[in-house]
C-alpha cells in the first residue's frame, strides 16, 4: 500500500481518486477538505512541501502539492481541481510555513486565489502587471515594460518610451 492508498483508507470521503503521476503516488482530493487532508498528511510524516504547481487545463485549473517525507523517504502528490473562472482554494500556510512563497508564486503566474494567505501578492512579477502569464488565455499582444520610480519601486506600463532607445 503506497501513501496515496493509505490516505484513501484513512479519509475515504475526502479522496476522490488515487493514481500515479511520474512514478509518485497521487491523490485527487476535494478542495473543500484540503486543510483536513493536509493536516492528516502531515501527521503521516510528510513534513516537507517541495513545490506547488498550478496547471491551466482550459476547462479547469489543477493545483498540485508535491510532498516529501524525510522520515519515510516517500513522495506524495495531492491534487485539487478548481473552477477555471474563479480559482479559489484554502491556503496551507498554517500547516507548512513554506507554502507562503509557493502560493504567492502560483498566484502570480496562474492566478489561483488562496483564501487565508497572510500576504497574497505577486512575488516574481512587479505589482501592476496585467494578467497571469502561465494562463492559456494570457494576452501576448500587450507588451509590458518596467521602469524604476522615484523611490526605487517598479512601475509597469505598456508605454516603453522611457526605456527604449530612440532610433
Amino acid at each position: 500500500m503506497n501513501s496515496a492508498e493509505e490516505l484513501k483508507y484513512l479519509l475515504p470521503n475526502s479522496v476522490i481518486s488515487v493514481g500515479v503521476q511520474t512514478n509518485k503516488p497521487l491523490a485527487v482530493i476535494r478542495k473543500e477538505d484540503l486543510l483536513t487532508v493536509a493536516g492528516k498528511v502531515k501527521e503521516m510524516g510528510f513534513d516537507s512541501l517541495s513545490v506547488i504547481t498550478g496547471v491551466d487545463r482550459l476547462d479547469r485549473i489543477e493545483v498540485i502539492y508535491n510532498l516529501f517525507s524525510y522520515k519515510k523517504k516517500q513522495n506524495l502528490a495531492l491534487k485539487v481541481i478548481l473552477d477555471h473562472k474563479s480559482p479559489e482554494v484554502d491556503s496551507v500556510t498554517s500547516i507548512w510555513k513554506v507554502a507562503d512563497w509557493l502560493e504567492r508564486e502560483t498566484y502570480d503566474l496562474v492566478g489561483v486565489k488562496f483564501n487565508g494567505h497572510p500576504n497574497l501578492k505577486r512575488i516574481l512579477l512587479p505589482e501592476g502587471w496585467i494578467g497571469h502569464p502561465l494562463m492559456k488565455d494570457y494576452d501576448m499582444s500587450i507588451e509590458q515594460f518596467v521602469t524604476i520610480g522615484e523611490d526605487g519601486e517598479d512601475i509597469v506600463s505598456t508605454d516603453g518610451s522611457n526605456l527604449l532607445r530612440r532610433r
Partner: protein
C-alpha cells in the same frame, strides 16, 4: 667526424628584438605613423593625437563587474588564468560603473532587469563601450517568445560588438574583445560627439 654542411638558403634573418622603449612601442603596431627624430638632446616623438589616445584606451579597457545569467560563468572562465584577458589589460573588473569603460551584457535581460542595466550603462563615464554576449542579450534567443524578456539589449542601450553563442566559449569572447580593440583603434577623437564626421 664528417664536417657539418650548412644550407645557407634556409637561414632567415630574424627581426631584432626590440630593446628601447621606442622600438617596443613601434613593435606593438598600434601607433603606425610613429615618427622619431633624433634631436641634439633626446628623442622627439611625433604621432597623431587620435592614435595615441586610442592606443591608451584600448590597452586598458576595464569592464564593469556585472553578469546576468549563465554567460557570466563564461566571463569568469575568460578572466581566469587559462584564457587570461589580462593580456589585453582587462583583468581589472571594477565593482563600480564609474571606473569602467566597458560593459559585458552577459545573459538574459528580463523586463525587470532592463531599467537596471540601462541605469548601470548611464552611470559609466564616457568613453564607454558595450559588448552584448550570447543569444539572449543579442536577440532574446530562446526566450524570444517570452512575456518577460527583452528582445535584444540594443533596444535600450547602444551595442558595439555582438558575440553569438549559447553561451559563447572563452575563445569567442577573446575574438569579440579583439574586434572591439580593432574598432577602438579606428575611432577618431570626438567621433562619438560628431566632431569628426
Amino acid at each position: 667526424m664528417d664536417p657539418v654542411t650548412i644550407d645557407t638558403t634556409k637561414i632567415r634573418i630574424t627581426k631584432r628584438k626590440p630593446e628601447t622603449a621606442l622600438e617596443k612601442l613601434e613593435d606593438t603596431g598600434l601607433i603606425n605613423t610613429l615618427l622619431a627624430a633624433k634631436d641634439r638632446e633626446g628623442f622627439i616623438l611625433l604621432t597623431t593625437v587620435d592614435q595615441a589616445i586610442n592606443w591608451g584606451r584600448l590597452s586598458s579597457l576595464w569592464p564593469v563587474t556585472s553578469g546576468l545569467a549563465c554567460c557570466a560563468i563564461e566571463m569568469m572562465a575568460t578572466s581566469m588564468a587559462h584564457h587570461d584577458i589580462a593580456r589585453f589589460g582587462m583583468e581589472v573588473f571594477r565593482a563600480s560603473p564609474r571606473q569602467s569603460d566597458l560593459m559585458f551584457v552577459a545573459g538574459t535581460v528580463t523586463k525587470r532587469m532592463a531599467p537596471r542595466v540601462k541605469q548601470l550603462y548611464e552611470m559609466m563615464a564616457e568613453p564607454k563601450w558595450v559588448i552584448s554576449v550570447g543569444s539572449c542579450a543579442n536577440t532574446g534567443g530562446p526566450y524570444h517568445e517570452s512575456y518577460c524578456v527583452l528582445k535584444g539589449v540594443d533596444n535600450i542601450i547602444p551595442v558595439d560588438v555582438y558575440i553569438p553563442g549559447c553561451p559563447p566559449r572563452p575563445e569567442a569572447w577573446l575574438y569579440g574583445i579583439i574586434q572591439l580593440r580593432e574598432k577602438i583603434k579606428n575611432e577618431g577623437y570626438g567621433a562619438k560627439w560628431g566632431l569628426n564626421k
